[in-house]
Point group: C2
């Protein structure tokens, strides 16, 4: 069922039918009702391909992920971010196009998406320090919003990010308030800007209280359970072990917990742990009562915000770049307590 057929059934021209369906005002109310009813009855949906060609808009948004190489890590945050963004697209009649590409192919992918006219804009993921993608997307003239800021890039562009520095600052302060002074950081890979900012929040909180950050209590690695376990184990086995940890993710935190328990210690009593919780739907921090005390910020919500921002940008490309810095909540769980008396 296409427009022409529908118009014939109604004894109207395709023009009028098109206008009625798209809500143009110059259609007689009675005619419009008749058309809408018929469209519904015949389950008519305009052909996306034709709309796209005629209007020159793709009505689609691209998400480009690094991760094509066989063993590269797909970001665990991916699924929930996509779910959030997808809600917004669906509500606005946009399609979501996904490309999983190798790092080298990424620039070319953007260029193709643009010149093929496959999307109206893109969301940039896994932003790195000094990320060249920002500049090249600006050059391309393809609207985009990045998830995370690119440290070291001083250009006007739109982004959605979490105040990672503040989150880790608050987490560290909270542990200091509980009397801890040997506080360890189990950080993500510091090639990523967000990890750097987390570290700076941690370091600043310590030095504000006159505590020197101990390099032996700072680690940086991929945010997996295994690396959390390894890092925490090494630290706990030192002569002057930490009494508290700030961990970069739910998975790292689980590794830290295991290291603690493996030494016959109890998390929350002997050793405190605060994690950063992205609220991933398959990695919940407990059911009603949180297991970990955590700085929490929903990735899904970030996905929604980024998507909405991008659609606004597409609707009006000349609008000034917008930024949204999300604050993480500090929620109390069972993994923290006062520093044990010596």
């Amino acid at each position: 069922m296409n427009l022409k057929e529908l118009a014939q059934k109604l004894n109207l021209s395709p023009t009028t039918v098109s206008r009625a369906l798209n809500g143009y005002p110059e259609v007689n109310a009675a005619t419009r009702d008749r058309i809408l009813a018929a469209a519904k009855r015949h389950n008519y949906r305009p052909n996306t391909r034709a709309i796209r060609l005629a209007t020159g808009r793709a009505m689609a948004v691209g998400h480009v992920f690094p991760g094509a190489t066989k063993n590269e890590i797909m970001n665990p945050v991916f699924a929930d971010f996509i779910a959030g963004a997808g809600e917004v697209y669906a509500a606005n009649g946009y399609d979501m196009l996904l490309s999983v590409v190798s790092d080298e192919a990424e620039a070319q992918t953007y260029r193709d998406l643009k010149s093929r006219g496959a999307v109206d804009g893109v969301i940039v993921h896994a932003v790195r320090t000094n990320d060249e993608r920002i500049q090249s997307l600006l050059d391309l003239g393809l609207p985009f919003v990045s998830h995370g800021r690119a440290t070291g890039v001083d250009l006007p562009y739109s982004w959605v990010d979490v105040n990672n520095r503040r989150a880790f600052l608050r987490a560290t302060e909270f542990l200091l308030d509980l009397g801890h002074s040997r506080i360890a950081l189990v950080n993500g890979l510091e090639g990523m800007g967000f990890a750097l900012r987390r570290r700076s929040g941690y370091v600043d909180a310590l030095s504000a209280r006159g505590v020197d950050a101990d390099p032996a209590l700072m680690s940086s690695d991929a945010m997996t359970e295994h690396s959390g376990f390894t890092a925490a184990s090494a630290m706990l086995d030192r002569p002057d072990p930490p009494t508290a940890f700030v961990a970069a993710s739910m998975l790292s935190g689980m590794g830290v917990r295991r290291a603690i328990e493996a030494r016959g210690l109890k998390m929350g009593r002997d050793v405190s742990v605060i994690i950063f919780d992205d609220e991933l739907s398959y990695l919940r921090n407990g059911e009603d009562l949180p297991i970990f005390t955590a700085t929490r910020s929903s990735v899904r919500e970030a996905g929604r915000l980024a998507a909405q921002m991008l659609l606004d940008l597409i609707a009006d490309p000349d609008t000034a770049p917008r930024n949204k810095l999300l604050e993480a909540d500090l929620i109390l769980g069972q993994s923290t307590g006062p520093a044990p008396r010596k």
Copy 2:
């Protein structure tokens, strides 16, 4: 730069240029070279929207995921499956369209994708027992491949699945061989067909050796760390605790391990654990040496296979449905050992 402009520059008709670029044989070799050179020089890319309208093919594949409701769990397997499928699409010039929808909206989503002509086929995820989607997709005439079989549906359709029954049968047999007889099952939600088949493999292996499956040693829940911990804790606190566990996922297994260690026991010595390992890139089972003994089958590979199967089906829709049952490897890690002497 579009086809017409390029043709004008070359003093040729769009017809000839189009044919040359698409490799049709009836173009003079010299002309073709001239055209290819010019296309390259001007960085010409045919407009995707126009190609799609003209050819009637979408050159795109849809992936439809349930999970739109705020708190619904996004399948953790999602990201890696997509990464695998994406490789195949990219290599074949297809785009990947993602829809995250609420359960109720799913049927309508398929119908829309079809009538809008947005995709040439779809991959069906999270297949349930007696899944009505199979029938409705067959009715729609939209080519599709499902990831997992729909238990209870006896229709001809294409799928890619893991031999879950055999995997759990082998895992259980392996534990029996090690002398275990109190073997527990920490299963996923049994509304999903794959969980049912896993259970049947487990039960059959036991009864083949004359061991009755003990209902108190079988649990079924979402595959999270927390639920693995809870289920294993309860079982270990019984008067006749299990000496071995078969767990449905990496995350469940981590929960089981925690329950074991919380009781001062050592995994691999006092209590054995076998997990099912999907080889998720962000949830690796150890680095070089596997932590868990596991039945292993790569979700990423399944994504590749399903995607390829779908493209084949799209190329020739009249081909008979194809099925691919992947066998899981049984790999030895550090989490299993002989049953402790009484």
